[in-house]
């Protein structure tokens, strides 16, 4: 039985559960590295999930759905950017309001478009990619995720853009004094987080469920933020944290039916996260100006 639990299947299930979290988490990394806390990721994922279904529904092409998801995420992030960067409103208020707006908006549009509020029609997902010469199949989005993780890691730590972005999160006044347009950099970080959060949402609706259900993110945006902090604001770290969370989730699904009350099994992912946080990771240090509006 235990052997059955610790199988390859477990790992692939863990991976699937971690994909939406990872995308959103990476989004969080871009946003917060630039100094903007993005608690709106929950809402961004939700509109992403919705966008993916809308796009696919009308064109029957999941790739268009994917683009729509990114666009929708982008738009919500744009509002967040305008409100919190340009108007310098507390970033958490803005995020909380956008989360409320996202639930309302998706349901409203869902009713308008699908004539049903609660859930959409089922859609076709992406054609799975096959590993050459084997029977193994993998979702293109998972491939994209790995690419995005690696690219993000490089972009943030090895490129001109990443250096400037991080400078805006660590000391925007220094960046400003060197002629870097802090406002623009911060916008870019938030907008990228919108696109990535949208992708995470797209995975939920396009690859996982193949349907949009009202409020289907069920708190994953917050878990993704936890993953980002846990991963110390780095892409690779965030992925590891999200994967760990996915693993704990996958494990808990397979532990049911052993006589332990469900509720305690349900707690496993959260307890594991806490223990790892205490035992291994210790003090995580946020970018110094994370969450602080930049005022010239």
């Amino acid at each position: 039985m235990i052997g059955g639990i610790l199988s390859l299947e477990l790992l692939s299930s863990a991976l699937r559960m971690s994909v939406p979290l990872t995308f959103a988490s990476l989004g969080g990394v871009f946003s917060e590295r630039g100094g903007v806390v993005n608690i709106a990721l929950e809402g961004i994922m939700l509109v992403g999930a919705f966008g993916a279904v809308v796009g696919t529904y009308f064109t029957n092409n999941p790739w268009v759905g994917l683009l729509t998801a990114m666009l929708f995420g982008f738009l919500i992030a744009l509002i967040h950017a305008v409100v919190s960067i340009t108007f310098r409103i507390n970033q958490i208020i803005s995020g909380t309001a956008l989360n409320i707006m996202a639930t309302g908006l998706t349901t409203f549009l869902s009713r308008l478009i699908f004539k049903a509020a609660g859930s959409s029609p089922h859609i076709e997902g992406m054609v799975q990619w096959r590993f050459p010469g084997t029977n193994w199949q993998i979702s293109p989005l998972i491939v994209i995720m790995f690419a995005v993780i690696i690219i993000s890691q490089i972009v943030i730590f090895k490129t001109r853009y990443g250096l400037r972005l991080r400078a805006c999160g660590e000391n925007p006044y220094a960046a400003d004094s060197l002629g870097i347009d802090v406002i623009r950099m911060r916008y870019s970080g938030v907008l990228i987080s919108g696109i990535l959060g949208g992708l995470g949402g797209a995975f939920l609706s396009l690859e996982h469920a193949r349907v949009f259900v009202e409020g289907m993110t069920t708190g994953r945006g917050f878990i993704a933020l936890a993953g980002m902090i846990f991963g110390r604001w780095t892409p690779l770290g965030s992925f590891s944290a999200c994967f760990l969370f996915g693993l704990a989730e996958a494990l808990r699904m397979r532990l049911e039916g052993f006589g332990i009350p469900t509720q305690f099994i349900q707690m496993i992912p959260y307890i594991v996260t806490m223990c790892v946080l205490i035992g291994v990771v210790g003090r995580a240090v946020a970018p110094a100006y994370d969450g602080i509006p930049f005022e010239k």
Binding site: S13, M17, R210, V211, M216, G257
Partner: protein, 306 residues
């Protein structure tokens, strides 16, 4: 004379869940069309915190019949019904006793679940079938228990895998976990999975489609969602119950008390339609029809609690 006014308040999840709330909506629309009544359907806010307020608002506005869809209304409806003795109320899935102006519409989901369980038990090739529940609580346990009894009745060797999605109301709108749980059951060897998880069931059906196995739908007829992969659906005819209630009101025959909708009353059942015409062999259909009669006749008593 003024039109009869009927207000419906939904459960969390609201209209468009392709299952429970949608069925209620159909019942109301049917009544609007055929009985010429005036209808209004509303939904409580996030988490359904203000159910009671909504019921009261409708009663205050002179609605003749106010229907709460879902067990969540039990408390609130009891209170409001006491305040408005001249207004008629109905509750779906909840039991409110001792109030003459309240009709409780309850369904024998375990009976219907028994029948789909029997289908699963007869058709499984792996002798393993699965059940995915939404929120871990008594009402959903009814589905699980009836299903398990049905499976075991026809196939004592079969194993039933059981998972619940969560412990909050969110569990009814998380198709992602629904799918993941169904997939893990399929991977563990199950070939048929029955769900009682509201909108999360969308994921269960999706899993069946992706892995080319079978799902069994619930509440409304869900066979069309993924033709060829939904073996059948356990019907819970909320629309019928609501239509009947409105009809009784219009005809002046409304009474309080509990109305049970079981197999006998045709309140629950198994969905056969063009989508599963080729999926279920006649022998199975015959056997299931016999079981149905046995239950109606009281020869089989289906358990409803764990």
């Amino acid at each position: 004379t003024a039109k009869v006014k009927v207000g419906i308040v939904y459960d969390v999840g609201g209209r468009g869940d392709k299952s429970f709330n949608d069925a209620a909506y159909r019942g109301l629309q049917e009544a609007i069309k055929r009985l010429g009544i005036e209808g209004k359907d509303v939904e409580p806010g996030e988490g359904g915190a203000n159910r009671e307020e909504l019921l009261r608002l409708l009663a205050e506005q002179g609605y003749d019949l106010v229907i709460g869809v879902g067990f969540l209304f039990t408390d609130a409806l009891t209170k409001v019904a006491k305040e408005f003795p001249n207004t008629k109320f109905a509750i779906v899935d909840g039991v409110i006793e001792g109030l003459p102006n309240v009709r409780s519409l309850v369904f024998q989901e375990h009976e219907g679940s028994f029948l789909v369980g029997a289908i699963a038990g007869l058709m499984t090739k792996t002798n393993k079938v699965g059940f995915v529940g939404g929120m871990d609580m008594a009402l959903i346990h009814k589905f699980e228990v009836g299903y398990r009894a049905g499976v075991k009745y026809v196939n004592p060797k079969a194993e039933v895998l059981v998972n619940y999605i969560g412990v909050t109301g969110e569990a009814f709108k998380d198709p992602v976990k629904g799918k993941e749980l169904a997939m893990s059951q399929f991977k563990q060897g199950a070939d048929i999975v029955y769900h009682a998880s509201g909108a999360s069931g969308e994921g269960v059906i999706e899993a069946a489609k992706e892995m080319k196995k079978f799902a069994i739908g619930v509440d409304s007829n869900q066979n069309w969602i993924a033709p060829g992969y939904v073996l059948t659906s356990m019907l819970k005819k909320v629309d019928v119950a609501i239509y009947k209630t409105i009809e009784d009101l219009v005809k002046g025959k409304f009474t309080g008390g509990i109305k049970v909708y079981g197999l006998k009353e045709d309140g629950v059942g198994v969905a056969y339609d063009k989508y599963n015409a080729k999926l279920i062999p006649d022998s199975v259909r015959k056997k299931v029809a016999q079981l149905r009669l046995d239950i109606i006749a009281g020869k089989i008593v289906v358990p409803s609690t764990k």
